[in-house]
């Protein structure tokens, strides 16, 4: 094992198509995931968060290519690794949990067959050992009635059970990195809480790292240590979770957090980010948030803001004005009576 972070994504860009039809849904993403760390990738639809997860696993959709950058996983660059070697890592050292377990599992095989398949491919076990290993994995994810679940086909299990089976499958070969793409979004609130709780406990006991892709800031708050906020395929801001939620530095993060309904904002106007995500960010010379940002200066239109530390070493922001302004951005939110007393600084 080498020293340093487990995963180091540098200047990652993904492109679809060529020439005039080319789009670049990811453009210069950089972030790191430490050993045993849970990093959230947040953003809204189309910001590139799912694509980021897929590029790490090397399972990009058809037509997409990594056009720039590197994905350093424990000293190996996944972006330039031959697919056969990547397959040895995928499922074994890096595993993934998807948003919809019902479609991610094969409907014609039992849970046992599917998990055994993964174990047989990656671990040097045979016969009884495989069966025992699979059963142990299932027990460790807290599934009751292990035998029944193993015998079941996906459609015979509830959404929560399926997602736990998926987690068991992902963890069956003891991965060092788990990529979780909205694993609770399709589940009911009480079931989603069980799955989040399970993931959190397993992560704590086994110490693997997690890249947690989500749109839900409440989930971010619950499970992540650090957050990367994506906007239009670029990193807008990166910070420790509590710092980001308390005092976002990028206007987009600020708008996003201000848009969440909260008890203290009850009945008051929420922050509204005007306009919509640009359809073709690759053609924008300056900051991609420029059309929706209330505090634009001339420089924003011509010069792309680079991600830089502001204030503290672990607070990274891609905004020309970060660190220079003291006031919040006005997204039309009704500040309410008590926030003026608080000086307009803290968010939580």
């Amino acid at each position: 094992m080498t020293e340093g972070p487990l995963l180091r994504v540098r200047d990652l860009a993904v492109e679809f198509g060529t020439g005039a039809a080319m789009t670049r849904p990811l453009d210069g993403i950089s972030f790191e995931v430490g050993r045993g760390e849970v990093v959230g990738i947040v953003g809204e639809t189309g910001c590139g968060k799912t694509l980021t997860g897929l590029s790490i696993l090397g399972i990009l959709p058809a037509g997409a290519v990594i056009s720039r950058g590197s994905i350093d996983f424990d000293g190996v660059d996944l972006a330039s690794l031959p697919s056969r070697e990547l397959e040895r890592i995928r499922g074994r050292r890096i595993a993934m949990v998807f948003q919809n377990p019902a479609t991610a599992l094969n409907p014609v095989f039992t849970i046992r067959t599917q998990i055994e398949h993964v174990v047989r491919r990656h671990l040097e076990l045979s016969g009884r050992d495989i069966r025992d290993h699979v059963r142990e994995t299932l027990v460790s994810v807290g599934l009751p009635e292990t035998e029944r679940v193993l015998r079941s086909y996906p459609h015979q299990l509830s959404g929560g059970m399926l997602q736990r089976a998926m987690i068991a499958m992902a963890l069956s070969c003891g991965p060092e990195l788990l990529i979780a793409d909205e694993p609770t979004t399709a589940l009911d609130v009480t079931i989603g809480a069980q799955v989040l709780d399970l993931l959190r406990r397993l992560q704590e006991s086994r110490g693997f790292s997690v890249v947690f892709v989500t749109h839900d800031l409440g989930v971010v708050r619950t499970v992540t240590d650090r957050v990367v906020v994506l906007y239009a395929g670029r990193v807008a801001e990166e910070a420790p979770t509590t710092d980001l939620l308390r005092a976002p530095l990028h206007p987009y993060s600020e708008g996003l957090i201000g848009a969440v309904p909260r008890p203290d904002r009850r009945g008051r106007a929420l922050a509204m980010i005007p306009g919509s995500v640009p359809t073709d960010p690759a053609r924008i010379a300056g900051c991609v948030f420029v059309d929706r940002c209330p505090i634009v200066i001339d420089r924003c239109r011509v010069e792309r803001p680079l991600v830089r530390p502001v204030g503290a070493a672990d607070r990274l922001v891609a905004c020309h004005l970060a660190g220079e302004r003291t006031r919040r951005v006005d997204f039309g939110a009704d500040p309410g009576p008590e926030s003026s007393a608080a000086g307009g600084g803290a968010y939580l």
């Binding site: 809204e44 609130v189 009480t190 809480a193 069980q194 969440v260 009945g267």
Partner: protein, 342 residues
């Protein structure tokens, strides 16, 4: 129209909507003769200008309830009264007349607009339906669009040329076209991004104030429900298990399921709380007797599995200030938020 453009004066005697003993059964899959009670014995009222939240997870019956309220399916039991008129039968003349006053915004903003019609035609549709023979007033369509934050340039667009948020605005304009008194909002923001959700929530608040509208907000998202509602009914397996003012419910819920739900929702302020409700809800129709929540109830475990929970379904009992809860031990339910924080 002119009479109904101004919010009507609330009639204190009768509520705008009164639902009593509402039930809807469906044939149980695979078992002939037996039925699933998708909604059972649901009763509530919505007063003029009030926003009632209906919260529940899948299988709670909230979708079936909405479909009964809108007259898309007929209930198998109970009664729905709108402004004192019985509109229970989906095909009755009373129901037809009430449709002007009782409108809906659905969850799927793009899907709930006919992909082949322009925004103009979509907004004109309710007018054509309820004022047949009267020429469409184009200025009125435009002003409806402006009211929901759209403009003239959107008139000729179709659903696929609009964003999800814009589609939901069109759906709201359609609902508003007839100047209704009550709008059922069925998960109006759950397929939208947070920032777009904020726009729609702000819009809904504005419209409510401007027109004195009442809403029934059906949602699984507690933060949205808390933001917009005055009162909340929590449903579990087809029944209302708790109903209270929004403040009361969030501060001092009296039902273990509602507690579990509140504790489970990940919130930005405090993250997710404890997992109180374990396991899955029983499969449809599995609850024969006793409390429907007992298989997952944390309180029942704490109290040493009291036998009454298996024996009888707790009635929805009214406590002070209209706080209703269907639990034999609602006095034992503790404050979930504090419990969770520790």
């Amino acid at each position: 129209m002119s009479a109904s453009t101004t919010p009507s004066v609330p009639a204190p005697a009768s509520p705008l909507l009164r639902v009593t003993g509402l039930g809807r059964d469906f044939p149980a899959p695979g078992r002939s003769g037996s039925v699933v009670h998708a909604v059972a014995d649901v009763a509530f009222e919505v007063r003029e200008g009030e926003v009632l939240g209906v919260v529940g997870e899948s299988g709670s019956g909230k979708t079936t309830l909405v479909r009964c309220l809108l007259g898309l399916i007929s209930p198998t039991a109970g009664r729905i009264e709108f402004a004192g008129v019985n509109i229970t039968a989906p095909a009755g003349p009373e129901r037809r007349r009430s449709r002007r006053d009782l409108q809906v915004v659905f969850q799927d903003p793009v899907g709930s607009l006919d992909p082949r019609l322009s925004v103009r035609d979509l907004v004109a549709e309710p007018l054509q339906t309820h004022e047949p023979g009267i020429a469409i007033d184009e200025a009125r369509i435009l002003s409806l669009l402006e009211e929901v934050g759209l403009a003239r340039i959107h008139l000729k667009r179709r659903a696929h040329e609009l964003s999800g948020g814009q589609c939901q605005r069109v759906a709201i304009a359609r609902a508003l076209a007839l100047r209704p008194r009550l709008v059922v909002l069925d998960e109006p923001t759950s397929s939208l991004d947070v920032s777009v959700q904020a726009q729609i929530l702000n819009l809904l608040s504005d419209l409510r104030q401007r027109h004195g509208l009442s809403y029934i907000l059906v949602s699984h998202d507690l933060s949205v429900v808390r933001h917009l509602t005055d009162r909340v009914a929590v449903m579990y397996l087809g029944r209302i298990v708790e109903e209270a003012t929004t403040d009361d419910l969030f501060a001092a819920s009296r039902h273990p399921y509602a507690r579990a739900l509140l504790a489970a929702a990940p919130s930005v302020e405090r993250g997710a709380g404890a997992v109180l409700a374990r396991g899955d809800p029983p499969r449809e129709g599995a609850v024969e007797a006793g409390c429907p929540f007992r298989s997952r109830c944390w309180l029942r475990e704490q109290l040493g599995q009291p036998e009454i929970c298996d024996r009888s379904a707790p009635p929805l009992v009214e406590a002070p200030e209209g706080h209703r809860a269907a639990c034999h031990f609602s006095d034992h339910v503790m404050d979930p938020v504090q419990e969770v924080k520790s």
